[in-house]
Symmetry: C2
Subunit: 267 residues, 2 copies
């Protein structure tokens, strides 16, 4: 690691950090933004993701020596004052810890499923565009040791800055893949011996009465719309009973309850 002082927000070496709030699209150029101490720690531990550089508020450097000792030799660690960092990022960065990560090569759902152990729990997300929800679901997936998250093309990218931050780095830990159609995914899951279970307020069985199978895929849909009726018709459906006069459970809360239920004895 190589500590470099930055005094000019216009310095071309920190161009990747410029105006990060406006363009969460850094990820689209093969990169993503990691924010905060815990996420940086996860990134530097990651085998899948490589860090390209780190940008720190000068006063954060001393408190990070343990974490930074994991950085690969030669990794640039840019250090700047508060006003310079704010000038670079375009907003007040009270955390003062940022890193640019390099996206790993995308895997397919099929390849990912093939890599899983005999006993495996998979989370399938359909139409979840909200960064907070995707981040929170990844956090729950990591906490309950789900083996993979599979997302349809309308879900938010788990490597968006805010999704990574809300996931407390879990988006960098839990393997994920995007799938093209629900039909192909169902065929894949079937061929790999996964039971499929969909969560819906209109689900037919109370979650409490559903037993774990060794290989299980849990489907969650977006707030509001929920999983499409046609999709619900293709598999067993679970319901988490709630008060009759209340709107619905948040999808991340649903995933926490579901994952907790199906990991009895595994943790």
């Amino acid at each position: 690691m190589d500590i470099i002082r930055i005094d000019d927000p216009g310095d071309s070496r920190i161009a990747a950090y410029r105006d990060i709030r406006e363009r969460d699209l850094v990820g689209r150029q093969g990169r993503f933004i990691a924010e905060g101490k815990v996420v940086l720690d996860v990134l530097l531990d990651s085998i899948r993701f490589r860090s390209e550089s780190i940008l720190l508020l000068e006063n954060r450097l001393p408190g990070l020596s343990r974490i930074l000792s994991k950085a690969s030799p030669g990794l640039p660690v840019y250090v700047a004052s508060g006003p310079v960092i704010n000038g670079i990022t375009g907003f007040h960065m009270h955390r003062g810890i940022l890193a640019i990560g390099r996206r790993a090569e995308e895997t397919t759902a099929d390849r990912l499923l093939r890599s899983l152990p005999e006993r495996a729990l998979v989370v399938v997300l359909v139409g979840i565009a909200n960064h907070d929800n995707v981040g929170a679901i990844f956090r729950n997936a990591a906490a309950f040791q789900a083996n993979a998250v599979l997302l349809d093309r309308t879900c938010c990218d788990p490597l968006y800055r805010k999704a990574i931050r809300v996931s407390v780095g879990a988006a960098l830990k839990v393997p994920f893949a995007t799938f093209d159609t629900e039909t192909t995914l169902a065929t894949n899951l079937d061929s790999h011996g996964f039971s499929r279970l969909a969560f819906s307020p209109r689900g037919t069985e109370d979650l409490r009465h559903i037993r774990r199978t060794d290989r299980l895929a849990l489907y969650f849909g977006s707030e509001g719309e929920g999983l499409p009726t046609e999709l619900l018709a293709t598999m067993k459906t679970a319901r988490i009973p709630i008060a009759g006069d209340f709107d619905s459970l948040n999808v991340a809360a649903t995933s926490a309850i579901a994952l907790h239920h199906f990991t009895v004895g595994d943790l």
Copy 2:
């Protein structure tokens, strides 16, 4: 209800809506801001909270007739174009549905506890300053029919705009009160026959093995810090087992799992 067209963002009749993002303190003047269709619906249904006025994007009016029919006679419903609304609120209001609510008189934890039924579940929050977490916990509390939420003085106000929005109106449904000291609250809970249970990653019993008592108070602490050690020492503590190498569960996810666990058979 009284539909009034507003063409000037400076109109004094809609002063309460001005720059709402900057000052979430509207609540501190005895008022709060309700945002979105579901929250407006909850507000107009509420017995505890009264609405002072509504401000709508003009094109939202037709879709709200069912909800607006519940408004009390004479309630001003201000209607404005997009640019005028943005000029009033200071940011782009894509929902286009706002209302000013009047805070109810604050009750005390003791008075609130006295009003609860024989079988009751109470959520106690200590040091939870994050609006999203407080909102999400209220949403879970409403979904699982908790009877009350009690907050210490360092928690975020449940009637902050964002907390109400994240709660999907639950902050207006589930009765709450603020308490001064943990010692007084403990005495109150004891005298009303409540068992107390604290959630902590260091809790001694696995949640799955803890049985419901008729009157039960569940304590949750802030992310990071968690509940203070001195407080944990005063009551039974529960743990939700998670993967050993992962940081922790989000406090709202913890509340979802806990409330779900303790409402078996009640919903």
